[in-house]
Symmetry: none
Subunit: 209 residues, 2 copies
Amino acid sequence: MNKLLTVIVDDHPIVIEGLKTLLKNEDNLEIVGGFSNGAQLLSYLNRNPVDLVLLDVTLPDIGGMELCQMIKAQFSATTILILSNHTERSIIMQTIQNGASGYLLKNSSLEELRQCIAAAVKGNICYSKEVVEIISRPTKNQLRNTPQLTRREKQILSLLAQGKTSQNIAQEFFLSSLTVDTHRRNLMQKFEVKNVAELIAAAHQQQLL
Amino acid sequence: MNKLLTVIVDDHPIVIEGLKTLLKNEDNLEIVGGFSNGAQLLSYLNRNPVDLVLLDVTLPDIGGMELCQMIKAQFSATTILILSNHTERSIIMQTIQNGASGYLLKNSSLEELRQCIAAAVKGNICYSKEVVEIISRPTKNQLRNTPQLTRREKQILSLLAQGKTSQNIAQEFFLSSLTVDTHRRNLMQKFEVKNVAELIAAAHQQQLL
DNA sequence: TAGAAAATACCTAAAAACCAGTAGAAAAAA
DNA sequence: TTTTTTCTACTGGTTTTTAGGTATTTTCTA
């Protein structure tokens, strides 16, 4: 079996070197490049075959998410493994949806890295132990008390998210637009927000839409 | 190293037998039990040490989700791997939330099963290839009509979601509020929406926030 | 069945958002 | 270097939202 052609992308050269050293003795993979930004990576990918990309999500030129998408769109055979210090749940989940095959924190052991690489190149997804803890932790939303909405408020919230004005909504429900205004105001009060934009964002974060 | 004490829980006896046969020759694990419902499993767990549970989510007496939680609450050292035919995205995500260390479809290969067991007992999470596809699928659809945003537009979109007014944003970026208005208008045009409320909702659905 | 919660509706006035254009400067791409 | 895109800013007008309130009726529910 051929060795896995592997590249490392990280804005810290130290991390690149560290990984190179760590993986030097792996007999099933070969580090063929280390890049400090997304543009360099894409340029390399256009010229050379690559099996595996070890990718940091914070890069100077382009977000790791977009980069993920771009790599997957153009080089679908290439496996992406995220190696990051980001411990936010939403970020982790997003990377997977953008085509990454796993997520590890930078303090992962070589053993974990091996494990995840093995799973990833076989097409599976693998999260390291620390990442598992983050994922299983209840989301912020669940900790934060989600406001208790009445039936009407939910209806109106949903129509607001569809871009309807108070008047539109009033017509739809055979109400006075003034009534809708009141509901709208109560909604904003319950969510402790200043305007509809923030209202919709908050509602979305709490999975109410 | 001791063998992994493994139990199988599935309401189809055939599946239990099949798995037993399949895993009989694995030298790192030993099947110590096969149960067709949750009560039997819990009763066994109370009397015997178990390292790994291969669990189906559809059981006659109790939902796999609840069972997962109960196992993890009482026997936190026990690893749970879901083995199911459910292909709904939300169910898969939920099992992880409830403490499972992985998810495989029943048509997975022995190789995949091995891979996931290995990852799971080390504390990682592992999804089989088919499951990966399910997880990544819905977003691909969403990505189709994702508008291409400029850097400024992204910045402004993000501040809008925080409930900032055009004037607030203008101050933050040392711009005229009229400029921010223009960006805001362009954003709405790109997303084909009528106002910020819908804009935020659309952006959220496309994971741009 | 009384009291609480929810839904309804109104007033005023300021603030902000939205519409439909135009247009120069700066930056990026070809 | 030329072309295109992005960012910037404006005019002028309309619509909608937001921020204070208050108040009656309906619907739960304890």
